[in-house]
Symmetry: D2
Subunit: 335 residues, 4 copies
């Protein structure tokens, strides 16, 4: 940690800061600059995280030089993690397609969607049973009934299933029916939920918050891993910016960055990331090219009839085309 | 609702959209423009909220012309709501000062803080017992022990108390100890939590999400009111923008806007809204001038020793000065 | 154009709006909804662009349903435009690599860079002679001396050259030395500069402003085309968001969107778009996969010695690797 | 300056960085931490601004600990600057009201507006003759004819005048007719324009760019002052964020921050800062309370007929009410 003093900081100020820091068994090295002094702090500086050094007299700024996350960091574990769910590997060189409707609506809808996306190569079936919606008057999902349908269709088709979890009180129930828990953007910093999921051993897809920095995202995963659950999969789904033409701005910089910073797999969601059906194919291609470990795409047998997010759902035919293009790029990059 | 067709939409497209809409007992009026046609839809259009009209063939855009929130809207209730907590009125012309430390640390710290801020006119005592922190390694609060301290100090000083709630499983416990529940920014769209709070009758301070639009904020309040709890207080605490000099960007536009759009009271938090001790006084003055119904300010008897957010906490003396300036402006505007 | 009236708008309000609009030889169609009325306006509605209809009594909102840009629009010209510069085609199926140092520093530096990037397939040589820098104390470029070096190296290597233009008074001079004018982000809405470039016939690379919407970007190109210059090339170079880990957020959504909305070519700048050397390769791959017409990348023979932007410059060896990966994807997508 | 090394940096890396820095006559102090080393650099570190130290091997980050602007800094000149224009003082304790239409439309319109706002206390008359508009098809201003009208009305009413300048080739002409030059948001980083204005001695109102950080804004002013012109006035006019209910987000945090960081006066523009007529009064009150040195407000005798920005223009009666409220707060804060 480096403490940067104000230009007009006195000798007394510097002494006080050093004494305060030394109390925590940390050593200090003062460097007197032309304009101002800096204090290098050595030792286990995490203990200072909550200490208000930046508001001590004479202090200009405090620069943390170590990252707050540990377990998710690639420097802690250089090899890429593979999250194995039944017979599906996520991360570590394989590429996984997850697809299905935004919301579970009926057994028929799910089965039709599942069969179609499976034929195009998808191994994971998505479908929301609990739908967090901005307005309380919007369709909120079929709840447990939806979970049962998802489960039945997963069994019928032999696909791995994923569904969103919105409350820690649902963990047990959802885990009975689905193979992967999805934490949505709005809950990325619902730390109580993260801690409870951390206590289970369920694979979890952690979507990035709408305005979460990369560091906050990594820290959210750290909440889960710290409780003992190593099966975390990141999912970039677009961030909120000033641009309104697209629903969100898919941040592929972040995908490449997180692949460098962490050993965990990273999936991309171009459906929410763009919010526009006509942009899903090109952004899917971009996601595989940037190095993502998979895609999660909304596919509905009849988007016009979808109860949720129809405007960004692909038809099975469109999805098949995307899958083919993605495979071409995968092959090209493997050469 | 207005459905705007693409320039190259066919007669067939228009007919299909009208037929689809008419099935829901809504009437349609087609206006054929020079470049494109528009379809006005009349009736109870909320039923279309989840229908993917925007992805039907030939449709360019769908413009919703009624707001999705009802109960929180000023057009539903023109008179300003007063949330009464014990003997303290929030909203409707009175101005309330809420103050206290970011986190409850000890009985002595809370008592010292409470006595000081009460002397300066604060009627509500704040103090966090459960602290949602970006990193799992940061201080997470004293939990139930903290609630007990807050409660004891509230009783001792005769102040109303407020504390953050982070899980719906805590509602009963927290309600025993505190008078107002605070929903933090990270949980503004934790709809399960909002619904559960809505089923209680507890006064709730709903902080705006870091990147929530005004409409999303109003909708979050609608989740609470829809369940039967009318005692909602908004709190603007800064939004996330590109600017990094301040921790957040306090959005006073939103305060004035919400006062127009809703009958509920609006409080301003300049501590989180700026993140800098030196900006709290000027932004507090601005908040009262813009028409807020109160302020919530972090005050710590010894900010240098604070376990959380020391850099943005005022000393009791600084708070007293802010309170005096705020009163001057209140008086001036009442003339 | 659709004019949406307030819920409490009177018959009189509606009549006034219609009469006002009719004065401009436009016809109006009133649709009376359950809650409110809407007025469809038909005819050449552009004349209303500057009219304050939204502030007339009883008006809730005005929805423009035609795009303000015409000449840049793909609906005006469905075929993709190819901007031909000497023997280099930009757009329309070919893919172009532009590369070179951020700033022209010396003849030797430029020649070394040019030879290296040419060997890897680059056909356009970049190098800034006028450098807009946030601080007036930063290196501002070699100015005319830099232009001469760029020109000499272009001739020596047979490469097309591109350089930034920062003032309309420089157009003549810069056009003598360089083949393509680059308008930087900070000048994307310097309309006087755009108009003057529009009067020349010089190919121009129009970088997207740091916080410009897609529509504003298209409008900026319209300023150039309206004056008669059709040789406009878009360049996405990252937008400003809350994320600070990367210098900017490369918006590949926008690349795919502009390819749909306009017939003009779109180039991607991953150097500024990420600001980090380690992210340039993956984002270059993503850019070609998303459908960009080319890349512009900062390459410096000795990044450690660069006078500007060294931290985001590739070495010639790194660039060569990027070029090879890009070609693999191009080939794969052509199959 | 502090150079932070990577965790795995070698002794050799550290030695190389030190030797590189020492070549510039700067001294280095290495502090070896538990996890990593830091290098404090002492001397005139500005010479390193353009050096790519951050890309040298083993370097993790470079932290600049001095601000890049000098002349605009309050540490360089603790007393607040007063920009005197004819008999009007801007800054230093006085409070100035600037008002008038967005665009000059006719002599009659300007005279009517000027007389009205003068009666309410405005001393500076605004009116645009050159209007930078997003679309080339929007009204672009009366140009020189507009300047003449503004000048004539200024003389007739004895008011100081201000108008926007969009090209350095206009400086001489505009300076003949107007008393204060306004640099709009879109040109805040048009450095060629700033340098030319810096060579004149004209008072200049420098609007903050739509997505400019506070530091970039201060640096833009430094460009002007560095050329010799000390008469710079800042103007906060709202930044671009994700919120769309208001046209921009007025950043009053920035006003308080710049008052601390710089000695120059700061004016607030609530018309562009909110873009909504109904929010101008509350945000004007907030601006004076936060410590701004003045307001610039769009007032049109007949907003319904305005050729530009009618939706955010006040009537003279509304402006009079705002002026009265502002005065109450000014008086209250002076007690």
């Amino acid at each position: 940690m480096v403490i940067i003093m104000k230009e007009n900081a006195t000798e007394e100020n510097i002494k006080n800061v050093c004494e305060y820091v030394n109390k925590f068994n940390l050593s200090t090295h003062v460097v007197n600059g032309a304009e101002r002094s800096i204090i290098g702090v050595i030792g286990n500086v995490e203990i200072l995280e909550d200490k208000p050094i930046s508001s001590m007299e004479g202090v200009y700024d405090v620069v943390r030089i170590s990252s707050p996350y540990k377990l998710v960091s690639r420097s802690a574990k250089p090899d890429s993690t593979v999250v194995r769910v039944k017979d599906v590997d996520i991360g570590g060189g394989s590429f996984v397609m997850m697809a299905g409707p935004c919301a579970v609506e009926s057994y028929e809808q799910m089965l039709e969607a599942a069969r179609a996306v499976k034929k195009s190569g998808a191994k994971v079936l998505r479908g929301g049973a609990y739908k967090p919606r901005s307005s309380p008057y919007s369709f909120q999902g079929l709840e447990e009934e939806g979970l049962k349908i998802l489960n039945a269709v997963g069994q019928e088709t032999g696909m791995v299933t994923i569904t969103e979890i919105v409350s820690s009180s649902h963990i047990e129930k959802v885990s009975q029916y689905a193979d992967i828990l999805q934490v949505g953007s709005r809950n990325m910093q619902n730390f109580e939920l993260l801690k409870e999921i951390g206590k289970s051993n369920m694979p979890v897809l952690l979507k990035r918050g709408l305005s979460s920095t990369i560091e906050e995202w990594l820290n959210a995963a750290e909440y889960i891993m710290k409780e003992g659950n190593p099966n975390v999969i990141f999912c970039e789904r677009g961030i909120r910016t000033f641009e309104t033409y697209t629903r969100n701005t898919l941040d592929l910089n972040a995908v490449a960055a997180v692949k460098n910073l962490s050993h965990l797999p990273v999936i991309v969601d171009p459906s929410h990331g763009t919010g526009r059906r006509d942009l899903i194919a090109p952004l899917s291609r971009a996601a595989v090219a940037v190095g993502a470990d998979g895609l999660i795409i909304e596919v509905h047998p009849h988007p016009d009839m979808a109860l949720s997010d129809g405007a960004q759902s692909l038809t099975p035919e469109e999805f098949d085309k995307v899958a083919k293009e993605v495979n071409k790029i995968l092959l090209a990059l493997k050469d």
